[in-house]
């Protein structure tokens, strides 16, 4: 794999390389940031998972329309707090090893290791039992109706291979060495790793022995990935036919791509909502000129901010029309999002001003807004627009826009008063939103929101299997949230992809590229 003498890296070279290349379907694609690592259990980050998902597979997966599909498990069933998974038979890893129940147990253990970023996601699983070579049982801490939804990014590695390469845990800090799995892949998936230079070039080729061969429409022979950080350069690469596909073209360039010969764009509403959070749970804000009390603790101030944001203007001018103004912090498609709950909060400057006056802040106050500048569509520009809108009701906002790697720790460590966050819901169930963002102890609840009723519901729905009851409880909780306004919802994001006419890639609302469905003409 590594010791090929001649590594023809040039995407152009690949495409132009005479006879052989003509018959090969090579997808050359790009996006802003490379996968952080190829270790499937190290980083729970969407681009990393999407990249690993081309080579590794999980028990359960989703198709581009977000339907749950069997992948390495053929079927599953649930009784009380035990889930039984029947594994697919005859599956081999890229290295030729058989895929068995032992590998599943090993992968779960690896993902539960303290150095794994996935331990939160599967913390409900308390026990894994091997029934036979191709059957396993997962025992959860109480009934868990949505467990399969939580397993779609939990990839399976080969036990023998990982052990032979000293990679039983995802990371050993003190050893001071990189884990073998960071750059080497041995999965069961449709593509095999050919070469990898992080942040530079990653090449994959089709796995001829893949179990799913012939069952999916995709016809790619090779995938060449080259990350391009600068947005304009990325679009330039597409315009000059150096890549066939751009995962994240800037919204303002879509018209240009559409207008270019042989290029097209596709869009789809994403399951991700962009919103602002205000820390209402502390006594005094860290970055405000108001001392001794917390203006965000007053629901009137939070409502004033909500009605002071002109969501239509943001949609039209900042997002080029590519967003859906939101009334709640979770998107259509997620259980719990209803048209009533999601009704846009109308813009009303006069009402906002009078609410501020009622709350005793007629002259406003100052606060800092923490904003990422490389995570969401036009994130920094949305923040800038919000600064201007809030200035009109007297809130003087100092904007700090920084890279995501420095932004998110501020939220996790609760060091921010006012921040932007976008929340996607891989499980397509409001439980994921409540447990992280709205429950008092939620690990991403940097707003310090604490509502008894919401806390109770969060606990209850974790194990409520009756769909009607569940839906009702979730709706009740959202009603509480809509009255309390702990967040300022902005919009539901829209995903846009840019690609050559010869590429037919079905777009999914989770923004992941699924090469097994990609057809090239």
């Amino acid at each position: 794999m590594k010791n090929r003498k001649y590594l023809v890296a040039g995407a152009v070279a690949l495409a132009l390389c005479s006879g052989q290349a003509m018959s090969e379907n090579v997808l050359r694609w790009t996006s802003q940031g490379d996968a952080l690592t190829l270790d499937p259990h190290s980083q729970n980050e969407a681009p990393t998972i999407a990249m690993n998902g081309m080579m590794y597979e999980s028990l359960v997966t989703r198709d581009p329309d977000m339907n749950l599909l069997p992948e390495l498990a053929e079927s599953w069933s649930n009784e009380g707090d035990v889930w039984t998974f029947k594994l697919r038979q005859g599956v081999k890893f890229h290295g030729g090893e058989d895929f068995t129940a032992e590998d599943v147990v090993f992968s779960f253990e690896r993902a539960r290791h303290e150095a794994s970023d996935f331990k939160e996601q599967i913390k409900a699983v308390v026990e894994i039992n091997v029934v036979d070579d191709h059957t396993i049982e997962l025992k959860t801490d109480g009934p868990n109706p949505i467990l399969p939804n939580q397993l779609t990014s939990l990839f399976m590695v080969d036990k023998g291979w990982a052990e032979a390469n000293n990679s039983v845990s995802p990371q050993d800090y003190a050893a001071g060495e990189e884990t073998y799995l960071v750059r080497n892949v041995n999965g069961t998936g449709p593509f095999k790793l050919v070469s990898r230079a992080q942040d530079e070039l990653t090449e994959m080729e089709a796995n001829a022995d893949w179990w799913g061969k012939g069952q999916f429409p995709g016809n790619l022979d090779k995938i060449v990935y080259k990350p391009i950080g600068n947005a304009a350069t990325r679009v330039a690469a597409l315009l000059s036919d150096e890549v066939d596909f751009v995962l994240d073209p800037p919204l303002q360039d879509l018209k240009r791509i559409e207008g270019a010969d042989g290029l097209k764009t596709v869009t789809v509403p994403q399951v991700r909502t962009i919103f602002f959070g205000m820390d209402q749970g502390i006594d005094e804000l860290r970055t405000s000129d108001v001392k001794g009390k917390n203006p965000f603790a007053d629901v009137k101030v939070r409502e004033a901010m909500n009605v002071a944001i002109d969501r239509k203007a943001i949609q039209r001018v900042v997002m080029e029309g590519l967003s859906f103004p939101a009334g709640m912090i979770t998107s259509p498609g997620v259980l719990g999002n209803t048209p009533e709950q999601d009704a846009e909060i109308p813009f009303d400057l006069e009402k906002a001003k009078s609410l501020m006056a009622e709350a005793g802040y007629a002259d406003g106050f100052s606060v800092r807004l923490d904003c990422p500048n490389n995570r969401y569509n036009n994130d920094e520009k949305i923040c800038q627009a919000a600064v201007a809108m809030l200035a009109k009701i007297g809130i003087k906002v100092n904007l700090e826009a920084i890279p995501k790697s420095q932004h998110f720790p501020k939220l996790q460590n609760r060091e921010t008063d006012f921040y932007m966050l976008g929340w996607g819901v891989p499980t397509l169930d409001s439980e994921y939103v409540f447990s992280y963002l709205l429950e008092a102890e939620g690990s991403w609840n940097a707003a310090g929101y604490n509502n008894e009723k919401v806390n109770e519901v969060t606990k209850a729905i974790a194990s409520e299997t009756d769909l009607d009851k569940r839906t009702m409880m979730i709706d009740e909780a959202w009603t509480e949230v809509r009255a309390d306004m702990p967040y300022v919802p902005i919009h539901h994001q829209v995903i846009a992809w840019g690609m050559g006419d010869k590429v037919d890639a079905p777009i999914g609302s989770d923004d992941a590229l699924r090469p097994r469905y990609i057809v090239m003409k």
Partner: protein
């Protein structure tokens, strides 16, 4: 003329600084005069931006998002009040460029001044006292020169952002940038000042002044310092152009001035994002403004270097 705005200190210098040969050279070089004219116009326009600019782009309460992305007034769809159009946030381009230019020039001037004061002081001391002082100062300068300026600026900026308490960052961002650029500048000044001092302190009148027991402070201030000024001035002018570019580069890399109070570099970074969008005015105008400004300053510095170099006349 122009040089005088940078020469500070007692009136006595003023005359000596623009003594006749340089003035003569200036008034006989159309390039120099045009460059000076453009530079002064740029500086004046930007410094008086609050009075000239039709809007205050740094006041968020004046901005309306609905006015965003309007083309220049002479293009179809443009509005008369926004001569050069508006940016993606609804800010008037002309006002934003004027305010941004002011920030860029101020940062450049402040950085150069910092480098100049630091460098000249150390250079004169180094040249006048020689010996150990000289060795230590010049070795530090060597170390400083080992790390390229722009890298140093990125580093200082990165560290500055990390160690400053959260609530101070916003206010200090601009000072960190000035400090980062200024600090990487000083060894050049130090070298030139040291060289000039070495030459001067060998001269008989300085030796004589020493002999008659004039205080060292006085000798340095009255006799040595003025003679370093001409070469320092040349470096300062070229340094100003470089500092403005450095600031723009830092901001372009996203390490500089935040976009709520944009400098020219920040505006160009934002413009770059609109390169393919068809909104050409957002991309083009800030870049033109920067290039014209830097070009005229460079032209002036170029003329000065030739004019002050007696060998080339």
């Amino acid at each position: 003329m122009e040089p005088s705005t940078q020469a500070v200190k007692p009136p006595g210098f003023f005359k000596r600084l623009i003594d006749n040969d340089i003035a003569w050279s200036f008034f006989h070089s159309p390039t120099a005069m045009i460059a000076a004219f453009i530079t002064i116009t740029c500086i004046a326009c930007t410094m008086f931006a609050p009075w000239i600019a039709p809007f205050d782009p740094f006041d968020p309460a004046q901005i309306s998002l609905w006015d965003g992305k309007l083309p220049p007034s002479w293009v179809e769809g443009g509005q008369a009040q926004y001569i050069l159009g508006t940016d993606n946030q609804g800010r008037d381009m002309l006002s934003t460029i004027l305010y941004g230019g002011r920030l860029s020039i101020l940062v450049g001037l402040a950085a150069v001044c910092m480098g100049m004061v630091l460098g000249v002081t150390l250079g004169v001391l180094s040249g006048y006292f020689g010996g150990l002082t000289d060795t230590i100062i010049m070795r530090i300068a060597d170390i400083q020169l080992t790390i390229p300026g722009i890298l140093l600026a990125i580093l200082i900026n990165g560290i500055g952002r990390t160690i400053l308490p959260l609530e101070m960052r916003e206010d200090f961002a601009i000072f960190v940038v000035i400090f980062a650029i200024g600090l990487s500048d000083w060894p050049q000044f130090a070298r030139v000042a040291r060289g000039a001092t070495l030459v001067e302190s060998q001269k008989e009148y300085v030796q004589a002044a020493r002999v008659i027991g004039l205080p060292q402070r006085l000798i340095i201030l009255r006799h040595v310092l003025p003679n370093t000024l001409r070469p320092v001035l040349v470096i300062a002018t070229i340094g100003l152009a470089l500092a403005i570019i450095s600031e723009a580069t830092l901001s372009f890399l996203g390490q500089g001035i935040p976009p709520t109070t944009p400098s020219l570099g920040t505006l160009i970074r934002v413009g770059n994002e609109y390169l393919f969008s068809g909104l050409w005015w957002i991309t083009l105008f800030p870049a033109i403004a920067l290039v014209v400004l830097v070009f005229s300053v460079n032209l002036l510095g170029d003329w000065m270097r030739d004019a002050l170099n007696p060998k080339l006349r």
